[in-house]
Amino acid sequence: MIMTNVNTVPGKKIVEHFGIVQGSTVRAKHIGRDFMAGLKNLVGGELKGYTELLQDSREEAMKRMEEQARQMGANAVVNIRFATSSVAQGAAELFAYGTAVRVE
């Protein structure tokens, strides 16, 4: 599966178009990590726990999107966009969407 965030797959031609595909996931970290992040908030710096959480969930969202595209018979997803929102305390929603196409 080829994933790009440009209108086409560079160097290839789009032969079929399947419409929008999307994947999303809502994740929360356990209390221990939240507590550590709270402590880290005092001195500032990178919150590794949250970075990891977001990266994992973004991969999960991409995987779901890819699965949906595969079921449609696509071999590439173009014009991918990401969105993040926090739906509850310490929980994050990661959302990826794009256009499923077949390229040659």
């Binding site: 560079p10 710096g45 919150l47 973004r58 929102s85 926090s86």
Partner: protein, 158 residues
Amino acid sequence: MESLLQNFDLVIVLVLAILGYTVGSLAEKRHYRSIIKREKELLKMAVVTAEGSFPPGKVGSSALVSGSVVISIDYFKRLLAILRNIFGGRVKSYESLVDRARREAILRMKESARKQGANMIINMRLETATIGRSANKRKSVGSVEAIAYGTAIVMNKG
């Protein structure tokens, strides 16, 4: 008794502020040093926000790459920002926070592109979000998340 309790509160705030100031500014300086050093190393990896068009047969493969980071601000700067809210104007402490987050995210994206042997990244996009426990509390920006993503291009040789 009541005044003692009040003073105790003040002492805690003061200790936290001093701790945040010393450790936070040290960490920020170290982070900036590492950002500048890695930016020099990765200068050869071209990143553009344009889509670009390539003549047929030039592009070997393309893939989505992304980099993300969550950075939080220290206690002292948070106090400064609260004070700044009274008078208005530039909130310098938050400016450096988002600057660091974005540059770090771009660097991580470039590093993952280099691992895949890419020559350049096209159509780079940046996104910022607030996350974590401070996200829903009033309007405070305690920590900020930056995501950079784009399409890594591997060119054909010759």
